[in-house]
Structures are given as structure tokens and as C-alpha cells.
Amino acid sequence: MTRKVILIFFLVFPVFSFFTSLCIGAYNIPLSAIVKMISAKTLEAITLGRFSLELSYPSTYETILFQIRLPRVITAMLVGSALAVSGAVLQATFRNPLVDSYIIGISAGAAFGAALAFGFLPASIEVSAFVFSMVAMFLTYTLAKIRGRVTVISLILAGIIMNAFFSALTSMLKFLMEHEKLAGVVYWLMGSFANADWNVVSRIAIPITAGCTAICLMRWHLNVLSMGEEAQILGIDVGKMRFTYISIVSFMTAIAVAHCGIIGWVGLIMPHIVRMSFGPDHKTLIPLSIAIGAGFMVLADDLARALTTFEIPIGIVTTILGIPFFIYLLRKTGGGEWHA
């Protein structure tokens, strides 16, 4: 029965976070106004403008809700679910409870790719981010493989090295970049939803939804893949499946990084919270990670924008929240028993 209660909590959590986040900010809007305004807009949209409700709220409400907060909250939720599901998938494919796309360097690779395209190449930022996230992934894995084995710790160490490497490359780009572009890059790199508008939503919604859907459909085979090489005797092409999952995850991470910068630790923590309450079965782990990843990310963003009068980059908030958790996990798992 307690399981049911926790399940309901996990599912209600993102809805709760969604509405809370729309209310709070520099300018607080009451929940009733939010609900009514959204209902009115929805009604208008469904009936193609033939019906509309007359609401007597100040026009600033409308602007803040529809032009500022709503796109920002939607962006945060999409990015949160993308990062959380990425963490869950990477932990399964590498049989390593201590990784996510940030720790193994996928995010840093993507950031470099995005900065490169933004400052110097006539290429699409998203595509360039994706290509370099895959490059970073491949390098980390190759580096971590010592005598045919990838251990929990060797993967993390390789991730640290790749993070350092791609950060250095990105710094180099910043150094070479024109001044008017530089300011934007610096702020974006720290991770932020401050620039999230409908344009951003329109560019990340489809790729991230598609990625999450694909992983959701394929989620049970993550159980099998987490058996490591042994999965081949159960009929799974381990190399091919790993590549498929990792590509989808890199893709989602790259999209998130290209628009909102590097946001670490969310992908590491979310799956663990689900595992602690519901066990490791990916049938439940994946959908619930998506749900609480979305909810957590908007709440963290609320902290980022409402805690102080100026805005703290979200990446800083998640890092401060994430590190104690990582230390706890490292102690608990002992950091070394498994190998891929």
C-alpha cells in the first residue's frame, strides 16, 4: 500500500511542480488565475477562436504567464526528463550506478560542439552538439576499457579526463570568440533556462519527446542489457543495443545542452530516487524517472530564479544539490564491485 502512495506521489509531483512554478517568481500570480487563464486559452485553441472567456486579469499576468513562465517551465520539464532518462539508460548499459551524461563527458562534448557551431561553423548547433557528444562518449569508453574491462571507477575516471579535455577546448573557443557572442556563451554554458521562450520549446519538444518515447518503448531490454556480456546468451546483440541506447541518449543530451547549457547531476540522482522506492526494474524505472526528472528540474529552476533577486544559473543549483547525493552513493555502492 505504501508503494501505491509513493507511486501516486511520483505521478502527482510533476503536475504539482508545474503549477507551483507558474505561480511563483518576481511577480506572484495566484493559482486560480493561472488555471483560468490556461483554461481560457485552451478553450480558445480547441474551438479555433469561436469561443473565448472574458477574464478580467491585468494584461501583465497574461504576458508573464504565456510569454515568460509557461515556455520556461515547459523547457525545464523537457530537459529534466531528458537528463533523468539519460542517466537511467547509461547506468543500465554500463552496469554502473554512478554515471550520467554529465559524468561521462557527453554533456561537455555536446557543449563544445554547440559552441563551435555557434561561434565558428556554419553548421547547425544541434547537429554539431550531437556529433561531439558521440565523439566524447566514444573516447570515454575507449579510455575506460583496460584489458577488455570497463570498471565502475575506470569509467568515472575516463569521464573526468574527457570533461577536462572538452572544457579546455571550449575555453579555447571562448578565448577566440568575438566579444558580442562571448557573453551569451559564458552564461549559457553554466546552464540556464533564462532564455527559454516558445522558440526554444519548439526546437526541443519534438526531439526530446521522441527520444523519451523511444526509450520508454525499449525500456525492458535495459534489464537484459544490464546483465553485461551475459546478455548475448539471452539473445541480445549487446554491442548493437548499447550503441542504439547510447545514441538516443546522446541525442537528447545534445539537444538539451545546445539550448540550456550543461546541467549536471540530475541524471545521476533521479534514477536512484526511483530505485530506492520501486526497485531497479526498468519497466517502472524509466517512466518514473521521466516524471520526477521533469518535476525536479522545474523546482530547481524555481530556486534558481526565486531564491535571490538576481538569477543563479541552474547548473550551479543542481551541482550543489547533487554532490552530497553522489558522495552518499559512492559510499553505499563501494564504487568497485561491478564490471561490464
Partner: protein, 258 residues
Amino acid sequence: MLEVKNLKFRYNGFEVNASLKVNEREILTLLGPNGSGKTTLLRCVYGILKPRTPCVYLDGKDVHSMDLRERAKNMGYVPQIHHPSFPYTVLEFVVMGRASQISTFESPGGEDYRIAMNALKLVGIENLADKPYTQISGGQLQLALIARALVQNPKAILFDEPTAHLDFKNQIKVLEMIRRITFEKNIATILTLHDPNLAGIYSDRIALVKDGKIYAIGRPEEVLTENELGHVYEMGVRVISVDSFRLVLPVLNKLRNL
């Protein structure tokens, strides 16, 4: 029937070279010293290691040319060592044996869980179904691995040292279980063992393996002789008959009498 014809495989320096046949409802045991090539042979038969030319046939079909799913539906493999993963429940662990029957975009359904539960009942650990599989004993894990191989519904199963690390009673229990499923499910079974006495009791035929080759193959009473065992293990061996069984003992040297 599982047939191995002129299997040849080389590790740097070590060569395996073998031919053998196992019928359904028959247990063939590979017996031989450490490093004689039993695991390598089993891995070659399954195709985890790939010999250059086709040499393994299941009911006439070339096993190594099957795709992975096809192979898993036909053959099971129970490894010598299992590296534990996330703490899945025993039932979730066993249902993974259904992977070859479940498309990439699907999850196991009620029928798959029912099959897994039946396999757990057959091996006698259905009471552990909801326990994390990382928290059960070595003997219970061996039974869970057997159950996982069973739900693949294979025609042949290869067991690599199914009795390793088990106590006296559990060794018997696991071997009884293997014998039972071999008969009830019409399986062609190959296993490797280190104890010649257990091999004598539970095998229909025994193959003595030495230096990657099959030194002798036949029914237990033909193979478990002082001569053959002495040669394969390079030590003094005594064989005495008790009831209808052969009992193998080492020739005691002086140290034992100190």
C-alpha cells in the same frame, strides 16, 4: 540431438579440438583438470567463441549461423561465473530468459511471467520470487540461473560447473534438478564437473578432457577407470564399486598419514 563435428579453436598457444554427440534426454559430462579447456569448449559449442568453420549442429541446423535470438531460443547456457547487476527480484531476473521471444519494443507480459514462475516452481525456489537476486545464496542463484535458461525453452543446455561453490547437499540438489529437466523437457545437456564421483552418478556419458582434446568418452563405468583417470589427472587413482556405482578415490600418499 546436439552434434559437434571436428570443432577446432585456438587461443594464443592453446588449442581445443573435439567431436561429440549428445541426444535429447541425455547428460554428457566433461571432466578434466583445471585449464584443460572445458569452458573454452562449451563457449565454442555455444558460439560465444567462434571457430572458423561450422561445426555445431542442433537437429541438423548449423548453430553458429543462427542469429542471436534464434540461438537463444534453441540453446541455453549457464555460465561458470555470474557478475551480479542491479538487485532485480528473482522473478524479474528469470523472466529475462524470455528476451529472445520479446521484441525490442515490448516488455514481458502476463504469459511470460507465468512461464518464469513455473520455472521457479520447477526448480523449487518460487518462495524467493520477490527477493532481490543479489541477496540469495550461491546455490539458490544457481537454481535461478537454471530457471532462466529453462524459460528460453531450449532444446539443449550447456552448464559450466553448475556445482561450483555449492555445499554437499546443494550439489546433489542442483544435479538432481538438471537430471530432472533433462528428462522432463527433452533436453540435450552438456555440463562440466570437477568431481568424478558426482559425474559417475549423474551422467549418462562422460568425456574426459585433457589439453583441449577429448581423451576418452563413454558410459561412466567405461571411462571412470583407474587407468584413464590416472592418466588424465596425472595422479594415482583407485576405483571401487559400491552398489552399481563407481567410487573414485585418490591413492593416498605418505603426507596423509602424518
